[in-house]
Amino acid sequence: MNLTLKIWRQPDPDAEGAVHTYEVSEISEDMSFLEMLDVLNEDLNAKGEEPIAFDSDCREGICGMCSLMINGSAHGPDVTTTCQLHMRSFSDGETITIEPWRSEAFPVVKDLVVDRSSFDRVIQQGGYISANTGSAPEANSVPVGHDKATRAFNMATCIGCGACVASCPNGSASLFVGAKVTQLGLLPQGQPERDSRVVNMVAQADEEGFGGCTNIGECAAACPKEIPLDVISQLNKDLRTAIRHGY
């Protein structure tokens, strides 16, 4: 495959960025999207040019490190992470626009790399439970219904990649915050901190500069882990309950 790539280049956080055009040839359709970028970087290295900076780690779709806005869709046209997106999803001769996540809370570090530590701070504010240390408790002493356990697990599959924020026209982090609040709220271990968790996490997300949710649904459609929109309903319900409880 031969492709034309339009890629956002920005040498450092304060520099003015711009879209640069590159041509790549002899790309196999069995390559992942990141491998295609690796090929381009080999090429740039050989020419003595600065390679394109982009995030990646596990390359098996479980770590949440890769990102990229590909032709206007977070993680590209398929419901998966960019590392699991294959070139067979594109056609020969296609022009592909590649941009970093755009959010006030995700400043660009370099080229396509953004700083997602705002998510870490949101998690720091309540994405945990408090448990006694020491020997592990008897597993069956706290019963959890199968439906709740399954649902909590599904919400826990969020890898924190930030595709929800990137695809939201409001730059809202509600799906991310909602997934964690719902996951912990479904389990008995999450109850003691339930009210303070939602208030603290939402306040931190607001502080970081994420926008408000307008329930349009672009986030859930872009989520590589298919977190459903009803976690935002649960988030709103938990916050409403926290208001009632005076938090």
Binding site: A203, E218, N236
Partner: protein, 238 residues
Amino acid sequence: MATPTKSAPALVRNPQSTRSTIALKLLMASSGIIFVLFVLVHMYGNLKAFGGHDAFNEYAEHLRTFGEPMLPYAGLLWVIRVVLIVSLVTHVVTAVALWRRSSHARPVKYVAKKNGHSALSSRTMRWGGLTLLVFIVWHLLNFTIGKVNPSGGATGDPYNLLVDTFDLWWMTIIYLVAMAALAMHLHHGTWSAAQTLGLTGTARARARAKALGWVLAVVIAGGFSLVPIFTVVGVITK
């Protein structure tokens, strides 16, 4: 990504639930529901135009004498007006605050951005809302505050003012465009309010809230549109 790029915001200490963006959304949803109930009743009242001159004017007068002698003349009407004014201010103020937040949340726009997974109505809530606001100003000047008769006739008689207004084809078009905007606003607004109030926790509840959005949009905007259409084609006459 662990590489900090700028001085990161500090962790918020002792935040208040009522100062969050979700609290703003809750205010927006509740004031929106008041409007949904109002337009539903208002639409029903308008259909009295099909009953002719006397039925329509009697209904209009009855709105003012409702609850007498417990309430003064037009007492109930003023209670409703105050509730609506408070709701309107709440709805607009929270919308402006959230709109500003959203524009700051993405300082650099995408070169290419697809929004293929959301309804057009959901992405036009803000401009659609502004359209409705402008329409409400005109509508109040037309029928309530100013009683402007665009055809230059008398303004004292509610039914005749209505027929004179919608006999003009361009006035009918203005009202129909406004009803299209209202339908879109109701379509997404109903679902969005249910979601904001935390009532859509399951896939079934989500489908129901979306269906309710469609029903309210079609029934309310469609019901409102009947009177102008049937006036301009000459079914409703003086």
